[in-house]
Symmetry: C2
Subunit: 363 residues, 2 copies
């Protein structure tokens, strides 16, 4: 879908006569932290280099990733956001079938539909990690081998919008057990959970039937630049590289990603700040009547909305105050009404809590 | 192909130990002019807005284009460079067959191959516009209607690398005559030839079987940003829009394109400067032994290279001096050896002429 995602500050800012940056956007799951020292200056001084084409294959970024993860530079493909890969994977890999556990990010479904790949939804799974893993494993076991053969299985880990997070070792176990399928693991939110060694599957021992997606938009707060990464090896990488188009990533994004990847404390700072702000939001909002926090590991928080409140009512009331949160109505597999809130900087979060408190108390 | 295009300053700069911007790149066909006043400042002050997603559908740019061309905003799709559209068109339109007159830009072929579309090459056509148009028309006439039905015909106008330019009225005549095909007209270099009314097919009376591609990289000198445009109407647009993915264009590119499109004298200045510098290059290089200018309408110039010189020899010798020109060896349909040169600012062009003169005289 083109519309209906989080982060559309442009429609709201037009409606309210604001600048896009004046909208308080709690809907897009990206780091709200200021960029590290020197970042803006670094990009500014390269504006005149926009006269040059970008690196055709984002080589300099791939070399930094190679050093970080201990995999060869050829194990990484950079794209115009992970969105590029989500949409091209089903097509380029030529899978006939895809399994998507629900609820999860809607673009996996859209991408499979666009590529005419048959989709089987698994679940929806109830709240809670243990039940989810148990039922997900059982559902996979119940499938025939020939159904899984050359199929795609999409897993967002940690998951959007539920925040559920499977430890890498548990996920690897599943991946090895169902090795006839190609697993697409979207780790866009993994860096908000913990450092690589505890949150990511990317390592020198990456199983060959896995494709990892890593967004730079979220942890580095650069969704405006469009850069994301895909990690895989062997035959899968060969097929993906053969289908790659030149200059997929713009030069500003290449420079920004290289700068931010080389600032290691920054990621840790973002993680700690966002998790702390999330806990503040959860404790303030979760105690309000009609809003129940759904426990998850991510920095964004999912809340059930109970009558007489409705998700739409809360979202609409906040919009009038120039605040965007995510109405989860278009996430397939969420039976009740939910909203998703991603923390901004502290002052804005305080404003949000006050606004929601007003809305709840006026009901 | 991923490598082998013009503009790969990164490989050469690594080889020579230079910064990418220190390479004198005459190979990439993009405007060398400084950006208009205020451009760098405008982009710089928006760096902090990269925290926001871009407009999902580049609406603000589409509205500017709508006003410029007198077509609805819905007639325009923005992408991550025209490259995005070249590669997605054959796939999304589901054509079984494509006709590509030679010689021309190689990505049309690559895109059709990637989408498993059968390619029929037409030509190669000899130098000279009249012979080309006559033979191209005759070749189309010789085809059966059922061969053309729902086929794609790619025409780069003006053409890369030959610079041949068909006036819009002549091209429209062909398009209407062979209306069972979908014509993809790549106008990336049209703004270097003349203003819209004399160089572009985009108008309120755009035939329904045409898709126009417009690069912003070339005329505005922003290849580093990745933004290009597609123009079409009716059922073709509906199919393309259904296959569109969100946030294809980054925010810097949206802001830059809007800024540059709103600076109308800039385009005229670029056109005049580049055409003047081209004429200087042509008269200086075209008179050298072994280098013969192939007449064309674009700002870039094609030269035949004659023995004992070879295209590779000239390119290699220039590389050692930190200068890139385009060896046209990988353009299918050019029987003799050719080089393509795109003007830079005057001082650099003087250096290039001196360097080529040295190479020629040392043979």
């Amino acid at each position: 879908m083109l519309f209906g995602h989080g982060g559309d500050v442009y429609s709201l800012s037009r409606e309210l006569g604001l600048e896009p940056a004046e909208v308080l956007d709690f809907s897009s799951n990206c780091s709200p932290l200021p960029y590290p020292d020197g970042f803006s200056h670094y990009l500014s001084k390269h504006i005149n280099e926009l006269h040059l084409l970008p690196e055709v294959d984002s080589r300099s970024v791939r070399e930094i990733l190679s050093a970080r993860y201990g995999l060869s530079p050829e194990s990484f493909l950079l794209g115009s956001g992970t969105t590029q890969w989500i949409f091209s994977l089903p097509r380029i890999l030529g899978s006939r079938r895809a399994f998507i556990p629900l609820p999860t990010y809607s673009d996996y479904m859209d991408a499979c539909q666009a590529a005419h790949v048959k989709i089987d939804f698994l679940g929806p799974y109830p709240d809670g990690l243990e039940q989810t893993v148990t039922r997900f494993s059982a559902d996979l076991l119940a499938l025939k081998n020939r159904d899984l053969d050359n199929a795609l299985i999409f897993v967002c880990n940690p998951n959007n919008p539920t925040g559920l997070f499977m430890e890498p070792s548990r996920l690897v176990e599943l991946i090895k057990r169902f090795s006839m399928a190609t697993w697409v693991i979207d780790e866009s939110y993994a860096p908000f959970v913990a450092e690589d060694s505890q949150s990511s599957l990317i390592s020198a021992s990456l199983p060959p039937n896995v494709v990892i997606l890593r967004s730079f938009s979220k942890i580095y707060g650069i969704p405006g630049l469009r850069i994301g990464c895909l990690v895989t090896t062997g035959a899968t990488m060969e097929r993906l590289r053969a289908g790659e188009r030149p200059w997929a990533v713009n030069r500003m994004a290449q420079l920004a990603a290289a700068f931010l990847l080389r600032t290691p404390d920054y990621e840790e700072n973002v993680r700690q700040y966002c998790q702390h702000q999330k806990s503040v939001l959860v404790s303030a909002i979760g105690r309000l009547d009609g809003l129940e926090y759904v426990p998850g590991s991510t920095h964004f928080a999912l809340f059930k909305v109970k009558q007489p409140l409705s998700a739409k009512m809360v979202c609409d009331a906040l919009k009038k105050k120039g605040m965007l949160i995510r109405d989860c109505a278009n996430f397939q597999g969420l039976s009740e009404e939910h909203i998703r809130i991603s923390p901004r900087m502290e002052d804005d979060n305080v404003k949000l809590v006050m606004a929601i408190r007003e809305i709840v108390s006026s009901e």
